[in-house]
């Protein structure tokens, strides 16, 4: 049985539905990537699961952790889970740390909360964690404030804070987006290193397919509040079945090819308040038909492995052939 299991999770803000029934299972120790463009509902899924959405959000469906229902659970119960079982780190590390509290205290807070450590004991553990996430000279810097750290270091502190509760699952919400390329690489390395050591599960939310492929075993691609494709990482990149996944991959400039023309996905992401009736991707899809415009496809297991929600999935051999088409009009 899966460790965390999401079933038909739906979220609406002010009557506008942004998640349309998400199903996702995460096994113990598994690293899964959640990929998609901004606004597709990647973060909302997990904020909803942990009860971190503002009051105006309406959440339906089910998220279970070892069989324990999280949706609609009382606040105190959720507080037992947050940080201790499931930890979460966010995109903008600098503003995600309390600016008026010393970082040592912020990390220590989690230790006290989830492991009952106090005083000198807690301090030693904070130093160990800061060392572990690669903050040099931790002894001196434990009493500094977040603004005295760079963005990358703040992200390391966030990770240390998340690790303090020894969670079974870490949700990393775009942890590298705001960072420089070299620092991105450092954080990715850190995350996979920690996973190796602790064996915790990881959900890696990102729009950067490259970053996802670097740390995850499996990935789910989201579009307009739905999962459109899930597969293990190698197959997903080698043979994307959903036209959107394929488009995403093609749009990435190839570092090894010379000045070849890029292949964009035409059009824009639909407004959640005015989704097309059928498949949400249909208006941008080169393969769409009348069927796609009228009916939304369900997620279906594919013969080649993985699940895809598309009436006309791309076959493996086509993928290889159809690269670098000239689509510009």
């Amino acid at each position: 049985m899966a460790f965390v299991s999401i079933r038909d999770l739906r979220v609406a803000f002010d009557g506008v539905r942004v998640l349309h029934g998400i199903d996702l299972d995460i096994g113990k120790g598994e690293a899964i990537g959640l990929v998609g463009e901004s606004g597709c509902g990647k973060s909302v899924t997990w904020l909803a699961a942990l009860g971190l959405l503002p009051g105006k959000a309406r959440v339906e469906g089910s998220v279970t952790l070892d069989g324990q229902q999280l949706i609609g659970a009382p606040r105190s119960q959720l507080e037992q889970i947050r940080g201790a079982r499931i930890a979460m780190i966010f995109q903008d590390p600098s503003s995600s740390l309390n600016p008026v509290q010393r970082v040592g205290r912020q990390i220590g807070e989690s230790l006290r909360l989830h492991r009952g450590l106090r005083g000198a004991q807690a301090r030693t553990e904070v130093l160990r964690l800061m060392d572990m996430v690669g903050i040099p000279d931790a002894k001196r810097r434990i009493d500094l404030y977040p603004h005295e750290f760079s963005g990358g270091q703040c992200q390391r502190i966030m990770i240390a804070m998340a690790l303090a509760g020894q969670p079974d699952l870490l949700i990393a919400d775009e942890p590298t987006t705001a960072l420089d390329a070299t620092i991105q690489a450092q954080i990715l390395e850190l995350l996979s290193g920690i996973r190796r050591e602790t064996g915790m599960a990881l959900v890696f939310i990102s729009h950067d397919l490259g970053a996802v492929s670097a740390v995850c075993d499996r990935a789910a691609v989201m579009y307009a509040g739905r999962i459109v494709e899930t597969n293990d990482i190698r197959s997903l990149f080698a043979a994307p079945a959903h036209p959107y996944t394929q488009g995403l991959l093609r749009a990435i400039p190839d570092i090894d090819a010379s000045r070849a023309r890029l292949v964009p996905i035409e059009g824009t992401v639909p407004d959640p308040a005015a989704l097309p009736t059928g498949c949400a991707f249909a208006p941008r899809c080169p393969r769409n038909s009348q069927l796609c415009q009228n009916y939304a496809p369900d997620l279906k297991p594919q013969s080649a492995g993985g699940v895809v929600s598309c009436f006309y999935p791309v076959e493996a051999d086509q993928t290889a052939m159809s690269q670098r088409q000239e689509v510009w009009a």
Binding site: L47, L52, E79, A84, Q101, E109, S110, M158
Partner: protein, 309 residues
Amino acid sequence: MFRFILAKLVRAFLTILLVVTFAFIVLRMSGDPAQIMLGPDAPQDAVDAFRARWGLDDPLWQQYLAYLQQILSFDFGVSMRDQSPAIKLVLERIPATLALTIPALILKLCIGIPAGVYAALHRQSVADRGVIMASIFGFTIPSFVLGLVLVLIFAVTLDWLPSGGQDSWRHAILPIATLSIGGIGILARFSRSAMIEVLGQPYIRTAMAKGLPWRDVVWRHALPNAAVPIVTLVGFMVGSLIAGAVVVESIFSWPGVGRLIVVSVANRDLAVVQCLLLVIAASMVMANLLVDFAYGLLDPRLRAKPAAH
């Protein structure tokens, strides 16, 4: 930190200098000080002596310098009404005013901030709307209307409290209530929006994601951050402790600084008015300094960078 303090002090000094200049300009432009100080019945030789003593025949800039020198030696002149030193008159009145404004400030803080925070934590609830409406009502009712109505209810109709004067602590209740109601409204409204803003910040979400109980999120993470803007307003209120009760003192015949201002202004008692301006400005500037230091304590980002960096 030293440089930070020094810069703030220089700024404060400049502000005081501007106030002194303002006082000088207003007072010099409003007529012949000799005539005003000595009264219209003064014999000519008295006027001449006065002019010579205060250097009124010197060029204006010399007068200004002399004036500055005088202020620096804490000589604020004498009241034209009874020849007693202006600074003495002013200082005598301060305790009475503080006896009203300090309890009022405490009330404002103890009621206004919790009400605002409560409203922010229960946004869109009945309590929230109630707080908003009550607070807007609180500061839109002119204090003289409020004061008179309170007297009518509690002193005249119910006969619970005295209507004016300064004889016992019971006399202070109505003026303090009148003073604080408006401030409570402003503070509640301000705290509410400061708190709402802070609650929307990413670090609050981080604290929640940590599994911190909601109470701790509010107390340890939201409030210390919301305190930064609230301190500004509180600082302003602290600065107005001395001069903030002009109207209320008039209604309740409370012999504080406010009454002195009104009376001195009505009598054109130049020395006293100028002394009042300076004392009030100084208290305001002091409060601003305190606010600046409080910022430094509350928000490490505003502190001067340590040398290690």
